[in-house]
Symmetry: D2
Subunit: 451 residues, 4 copies
């Protein structure tokens, strides 16, 4: 399978036997989307809680539209759209593919119904699999990159489906439970030790995707970057770590904050990470009391678990925390250079229980330590603005709009969260959000210059 | 039944045999709400398209909350709420009844589910009917006013349910059909004659609710008003009438408009009534062509029918149209004095086909004319600001907030629309909306001073 | 002089000897504007603190533009504008007279300089006085109405000049003094008695301008209105009266407030009249302490004087105060019927010391009481929406836009304030502002139904 | 003089003879501010046209406040502020120095008057010069860095004074002339040749301030960066170059634009650089006609000069132009590495005639070419987000807020404009603005990868 995925950049012809591998992969990815939406009612799946978030139903339809508009319409001769209106309704932001339904109004689309959207998905599935079986080798080779892109695109929306419904549910006074909390989690572990520091020597390092397996265009070209020696915290900041920052009054002290961040904190009255709840006001005794905090999660309201990685921070909060801690955010290059040797396959992933997990100290100690929880817990804000790599070229065709046009006003996040499918991640992966964003599973790992 | 309804203001004790009459009435009103929501899926029923409009599901729940919070909790000893959270979720604007869910976020409430809301309705229905059967005569007498108020309140929401889903559907590019267009409507009637003028002598007239049957507090006290002689158009302006205003360029001519109206027309780029659609720009030949216009209705997109009353006008458009026509809007007193002798029971009403109907000229001619289409077609904007009548007293208790606190920044509309239940209307009825509102079934009937 | 003023509505030819009387009046009005602007530097005169307020310099220019655009350009054959650009810069809202500089950007016009604006004024003065001397009798008769309108228009701007610079200065942390406080004011008078009630019999009363002297078009036609018996407070509410409302917690009690008013109070955090200052928060002891309050005035910051009429209330606060006091706002008809017999000429007016004055109790007692402080203290909010009188016709020509197009979304205020030129007032005068406005000298006089 | 400037970072003790050099420099910088404000009236100097821009008078006061708050209050024992209120009024954004007047309300400060502000400046000048004469060597050494910072701070405001009054004047329909256009400029030069490309070898380059002379903290530490070979255009894009982009329809073609830039272009209806004016709409023949364009400048409205560097571009327009031209923006490192060998002292500077100048082709040819117009014409947008250099440490004390807290959501611009004092510039200088900003003298120089 890996070899066929390689085609996305290499564009060589897949061998005949790879068709079945692609079909298996297609079915697996599409089925996970189905599983993720299964706990949600049709009513749940229609809600849009802010312009940045989309209804579950829209994710279901848009990921099918992607295969229709970029694969079937372009690579399947004679293909006729399932419904012309869907080309308008489910285009996200592709200017080259025509006008589209206004993003803030996705939640108004009670029609098409969820059943119709599932009918659409089934139609697309049948068409894609038929195409996969019937395309000539040349056709397959030409379209393999966009086929594979469609799968990775759907994986991105699998994560967004979760972050978006979490945001919507968080605004519901009933604090709905997406799935019950698994029983294997427990809070009776020993106290957390402060994170250690992993020394990294810097120098000239290779950054970006090496030519094996799929990668987005924004991870290329691989290129050399010169780094000074630096240190990374061995684990992301925990809720206990972050609570110390809060207890110290940092939400009232402008000196730790970027100017834009302080202005936003004031305007939005932020005094804790998103989804943390405490009726007591900032500065009160109960504000400083870990036991007084609850956190809204996809398992409903939970007591604050001090040993989990802190999550749902904005980039501004991550930077303020780092400044308060006498450290800084890592650059994306420092992160990647340090993470390159860690295998993302170790990522914990329970698609129906997305929640950052406390560090298993015993296991960490046994493993000889090093960098822990790099993947599969929280996206880690970096100090790096999202920008093109030297020599960056967007993909040809409509996929040119996939990444490049967003390379301004955003910060890169690295790692991957408990909501990210494990085979979606790699050391070179560049996630990106504006520094004000808090609805992703986003946390912080400290860095500092090597002494 | 009428006699028991009288109790709302008279507060005397209902006779025992009236219990059954009240129960019949309760079941009838509640059942109509069910019928109105029946064509809508659970997905449809969750959509909120603007802060002024509410999801169908919310209407279903709120009308039940009204009986729970104002009747059962106050008049049924030992009553325990169906769900404490619902008291918060489904309070609309009653400050005296505690905090409430923010109005613009009603569309985020995918939970409680529609099924749970129906369970709530059934619970309330059972409790209300049990109370009706078991209350002492004194208890019944004390609570009859709020019981009856709950029924009229629900009728108001029956109309809002329709206007709100129409607004939501109008923003859906698929232009959904709420119910198919009935077959009895036809467009091949003879050309519309201009409306005639009905002379009214004015003088000292009695305005407000006479003491028979239910009325809202804002219709009282009945009091004398002195009117100069005036004339009213025999029918509301038709689409043909209004199109002449448009063809004359009135949407580009500030001289017809109130200053606030002109500013809004410019900001919102209004160039036709709400829900009218024509891809051609203002000033083009197609803009002036009746055949180029479509209108979004609850039957989906329809060709413009010139003979229907024009509908979905803002108060600003109504006033501009009147100025252009060399006339003016009637005051609410002029309207009521003229309408007092017309029986609202003649109102056309098909709850599942709400649409203003063309005037039946033959019938109008046969009837000897007079004022036509006063009820059951469109709410008619008046020139009167919504204000308390001399000696106005809000109802006691929480119902004090029902009407009085809204008596500013709104205009009174009179008549009643194709979406208003017929037994909900009367000559003294005062509907009110800000002059910018266009999503109600609102039209215009001209007035002028008698020469 | 009075007779020549009559021409505005009667349009008869002025006799030759009246030319001089008109010129005297013109010079007097124009000179008062000069006096009012004299305490202000060129820098002061350029400031615009909100879109609703205009810079002093703009008032100086606009009142000259009015004579140029409505009088000289239309009634002086061969007149050529002083500067074509000024026709654009200093048009306020007359759509019929072409486009205009955006209202919110008046404060950006550092050019034309104040000196150039004075040059403009002098140019207009010379041209108007020359026209007055040289026009034929027929020309004079034709233009006399707009000439007189220009004078009354300028008087309106004389008041606005004061309210607007007061608003601007109030936002300056230095709390600038427009003019020092006159020495004749003193605070050591006896305690204020509660206002009495003046009974008014109601019945059919004549409302509107009787045909003597100037009046705006919105005061006509005079017409009959039927009133129930009512009572008016003998004086406007004092700061002591209003402080009792505040001390009772009324800024935290929604039951007194119109819904729109409560929403605004919450959004704007109102907890006292505009310009009142107290660092202590609502609910604290110091909040209830009269001695802890300061008030920004055109004499700078002053201690709160409990015996002055309360001022700078919004219509919402006026209505809430009335509700709390168990009373209501008067209608504009009630106010006018009661005030018709009171001579506005008794108005106190010191153009350079605009400030509401405490009631002189001794004088009031000696006078046999009746309605006190009707004119020349504060504009009194009424319950009446600003609407056309029956048979209202706007003036012909561009002056049609003077009043009529604003007849929506506003409330009528009656009386006249300490900033209103005394000969500008009369019982039929209708001032109007949106209920949210607080920067005018606006207060409240209670009314109630006669028992 | 250079040696004393070095103290800012080196903090060694200045020799006694340097006091006079510092005083000379102080007087020279302060006097230039005076010259720049001289053409403006007191009225002009009070205008604030948007929150990002400040009134001239505020710049005059704030630059004096800087010396008072950071130098005199901290380094002059016993110093008492000129006026306590000014510490509040003229603090810009220093949280550590207490609260401050709201930025959007700077234009409301008609008081203190311009004369008072000049009195303040004179007071500060006398106090600073006295301190300079009387401070002990140790005191002088301790305060020299902030003294020098104050001078460079004032130079930054000298440029802002010009860009801010230009913005204000641009909104005045009279298109005021700040100073007349100098006569030495002429348009009759030969046609512009396309810019050439300067090859740069890249490799490991040293970036940041080398330890000679003053630099801001954000230019340090000097550090190594690894660059791939690249090319820079020999001159910034001219108006002719940019007009070709416009003529090609690029303002209607989303494919060239960053997503945020396209959204802003749509919302703001941008169709040309700021200050360009053409009544003809986008797409018309006159839109494409160079002769139909006028440009608002500090010399008033001027015909478009095709040979000047294009100016007042947002970063979005700069990036779109580069994409359309098949090139890209340079990184700030590429720019600095290439510019390091060019002497900024060649910058043209006429403080009272700030306007980008056409390239002197003959001189450029004679000089053997290379990079032209690097300094003193337009700030050149780079692709680099404004971020801390590795090992960055903000200055100690209140100056810590000078640069570091703004390191997010902005792009770096390099070079320096016709409004920048020449001795203020150097190759390592990092200017920064959000990509939406257009009111600076900002242009674009293309870059591309070396083939």
């Amino acid at each position: 399978v890996n070899r066929s995925l390689d085609r996305l950049t290499r564009l060589s012809e897949p061998a005949p036997f790879e068709r079945e591998a692609l079909a298996v992969q297609y079915r697996r990815v599409r089925d996970l989307t189905r599983q993720l939406s299964a706990p949600l009612s049709a009513e749940d799946q229609g809600v849009q809680s802010m312009p940045d978030a989309s209804p579950t139903k829209w994710h279901l339809a848009h990921t099918s539209w992607f295969f229709e508009a970029l694969l079937l319409q372009r690579h399947q001769p004679g293909y006729r759209p399932h419904d012309e209106a869907y080309l308008y309704l489910y285009n996200s932001y592709y200017e080259a593919l025509g006008p589209r339904h206004p993003r803030p109004q996705r939640g108004l689309l009670s029609r098409p119904s969820l059943a119709e959207v599932w009918h659409y998905r089934e139609h697309i599935d049948a068409a894609v699999l038929r195409w996969l079986a019937e395309a000539s080798d040349a056709q397959l080779a030409a379209a393999a990159p966009v086929f594979t892109l469609g799968l990775h695109h759907e994986q991105q929306h699998q994560e967004l489906l979760l972050t978006d419904i979490k945001h919507a549910f968080s605004l519901n006074p009933l604090a709905p439970v997406y799935v019950p909390r698994p029983t294997y989690r427990h809070r009776d572990h020993e106290a957390s030790a402060p994170p250690g520091w992993q020394r990294c020597s810097g120098g000239i390092v290779q950054i970006g995707h090496a030519d094996t397996g799929f990668a987005f265009d924004n991870e290329s070209p691989r290129h050399a970057v010169l780094l000074a020696p630096y240190q990374l915290a061995t684990r992301p900041a925990s809720c206990a770590d972050y609570l110390a920052f809060m207890q110290d009054g940092a939400y009232q002290q402008p000196q730790w904050w970027l100017s834009d961040g302080w202005a936003l904190r004031q305007a939005e009255h932020w005094d804790a990470p998103a989804y943390w709840r405490n009726p007591a006001p900032l500065g009160s005794a109960a504000y400083a009391d870990p036991g007084a905090w609850q956190v809204y999660t996809l398992h409903g309201l939970q007591l604050l678990d001090l040993y989990e990685p802190v999550c749902h921070l904005s980039g501004y909060e991550a930077a303020a925390y780092a400044a308060w801690a006498g450290a800084r955010l890592p650059t994306e290059f420092e992160w990647e250079a340090a993470a390159a040797s860690v295998d993302p396959a170790t990522q914990r992933y329970d698609p129906l229980a997305p929640h950052p997990q406390p560090l298993d100290h015993a296991a960490a100690a046994a493993s000889g330590a090093g960098l822990q929880q790099l993947y599969g817990e929280v996206w880690e804000w970096t100090a790096s603005a999202y920008a093109p790599y030297p020599g960056f070229k967007p993909w040809p065709g409509p996929a040119a709009e996939y990444n490049g046009k967003f390379m301004v006003n955003q910060l890169v996040l690295r790692g991957g969260s408990c909501a990210t499918p494990p085979d979606h991640l790699r050391a070179s992966y560049r996630n990106f959000f504006p520094p004000a964003a808090r609805w992703q599973f986003s946390g912080v790992r400290l860095a500092r210059d090597a002494t």
